[in-house]
């Protein structure tokens, strides 16, 4: 019998369809993930341009476990700097957002421009006392050497990504042409308007959130609400697409008008045939021109973000890991500048379907927590993500776990396991 706690985790399964439980429970692996996924070689989501519309605006954000600040400088440029003072390392920015001319660390009042350049150091030339100058920084001290850590920034369609890794490929290459197309469909140049935030802490490994949105097997089964009201069914017209590395994906689905066939509802024990919703506004869905067909496109951009279009509800979902078994999940719901008041209201009402209290996503957080509990109790075991086979390829249906296999194929490569 295998030891419950493997001393040296080894991926002893062929391919990527059987994911060892230790991939979600091992502390040192988690640190390596932060290093290789969040701090190197990847673009991470930090926020939306619309959150910092004016010069001087800033917003505190997170990449992996590192606090960063998204700023709009006086010249209108967008910058991302690490929230750590160059002097003694203090995480100086405590407000969540605001408007400032400069950043000043309260500890010793070192001050920085909104682009992160050090501009002032108190007592740099020492202090005069009794005709002599006491102390001060050494004469070779150069402010240019002591700015905040500046990240590489990419802005596309109003969405801001950043990377600690200045050698990272371009955002366009990172996403690849197929993902770019779905990204541009949602962020098509119209100005975004912020509708608000939801924040939840989910006690599960961060990868489980990516997997949840790469898994079209569960929505028609777990989310009975979806099935009952016909928003998502296993026989919806759909496509699953990945980038060339299989790390990002889009689940593209078009709601069918047909009645549910017994085949797709037979396994759903809680399916309520003939159930009518009391207040129709919850399902007052109006197709928008930019959809160009699909009623839902769920896009996972590895490792840090999910872009959601579910009917009229659009949002970004930011994954902020805080340990191997927990992550913060921050939802930013938005609309577009040219939305009518009716459309805004519709988006807000449909927001009831999503978020930590959502009719169809509260249960995602719950299953992630309970999966993590399962992994922790027998870390020697593995999952069986073999719906639709063993490989990772694009498909034109949802009856497959191909996207999860694709993600782990990539993960194994980057993680060297």
């Amino acid at each position: 019998m295998a030891a419950v706690f493997p001393i040296k985790p080894i991926w002893d399964q062929p391919g990527s369809s059987r994911i060892p439980f230790w991939a979600y429970t091992d502390e040192s692996l988690y640190k390596r993930e932060l290093e290789r996924m969040f701090y190197q070689g990847h673009w991470c989501y930090v926020g939306l341009e619309a959150e910092i519309p004016n010069p001087g605006d800033y917003k505190r954000s997170v990449i992996g476990e590192r606090s960063v600040i998204l700023t709009r400088a006086a010249d209108g440029s967008i910058n991302v700097v690490e929230n750590v003072c160059a002097h003694r390392g203090m995480q100086f920015c405590r407000e969540r957002h605001g408007n400032k001319k400069e950043f000043v660390c309260p500890y010793h009042q070192w001050s920085y421009t909104l682009k992160g350049d050090l501009q002032g150091v108190p007592f740099r030339r020492g202090v005069k006392q009794d005709g002599k100058v006491n102390g001060g920084m050494p004469k070779e001290f150069d402010t240019a050497d002591h700015g905040l850590n500046k990240l590489k920034v990419a802005v596309r369609g109003g969405v801001v990504f950043a990377s600690f890794d200045h050698d990272v490929e371009s955002l366009e290459d990172f996403l690849g042409p197929d993902m770019c197309r779905y990204f541009d469909r949602l962020f098509n140049g119209r100005k975004l308007t912020i509708l608000g935030y939801n924040r939840q802490r989910i006690p599960g490994n961060w990868k489980l959130m990516q997997e949840n949105i790469k898994d079209p097997y569960h929505p028609g089964l777990l989310h009975t609400w979806f099935v009952t009201y016909g928003l998502w069914r296993a026989d919806n017209k759909s496509e699953l697409k990945m980038d060339a590395h299989h790390r990002h994906a889009a689940m593209i689905s078009t709601r069918g008008q047909q009645a549910a066939s017994s085949e797709v509802t037979a396994g759903v024990t809680s399916f309520k045939a003939g159930m009518e919703i009391n207040d129709k506004r919850l399902l007052d869905i109006v197709p928008e021109e930019w959809w160009k067909g699909p009623t839902a496109v769920m896009m996972t951009v590895f490792p840090s973000v999910i872009f959601q279009q579910q009917v009229n509800s659009v949002s970004t979902r930011h994954i902020q890991p805080n340990g191997k078994g927990s992550f913060d999940f921050v939802w930013t719901h938005f609309g577009f500048e040219d939305d009518t008041p009716e459309m805004t209201k519709r988006r807000l009402i449909q927001a009831n379907l999503f978020g930590p209290a959502g009719f169809v996503s509260a249960d995602d957080g719950e299953v992630i927590e309970l999966s993590q509990n399962g992994f922790e109790q027998k870390p020697y075991h593995r999952t069986v993500a073999e719906l639709g086979g063993y490989g990772a390829e694009n498909t034109d249906h949802m009856v497959t776990e191909t996207l999860i296999r694709g993600m782990y194929e990539y993960w194994r490569k980057v993680m060297d396991v």
Partner: protein
Amino acid sequence: MNALDFDTWLALNRLYAEYAAAVDSADWDKWIDLFVEVCDYRIQPRENHERGFPLSTLALLSKGMLRDRAYGIKETLFHDPYYQRHVTGAPLVESVADGVIVAQANYAVFRTKLSQESSVFNVGRYLDRIRVTPEGLRFEQRHCIYDTEMIANSLIYPI
């Protein structure tokens, strides 16, 4: 009615107590009964409330939507079972006019999962508009504006 007479004050306190008892005993029919037909029930992060962002974590705009939520809780939402317990502070009455009482109260909701310790799940304040009806006092608006920065995974039951 411009001032709150003693009987109405007692009725207001009773309404708050009945509300807490309904949501803590998962009596969703009773919960729905405490609202008028066209009502506005919201659970909203304090951040959105103060920054003027309209998004709520949950926003139910009619008794019909309350019924739909109750149906979701009972029939479609999967979640780890838990008890909840409300402690509601004394109402602070702001105004009484035209049969509507505007009041607020602090609340704390504790959550207890099976075989686990109790924890503070959600704290905030209710911003209420309460209508005097022939059937008694009923909520026309209950906005639960919560301080809790991170929802502990998911929020299933009404606050």
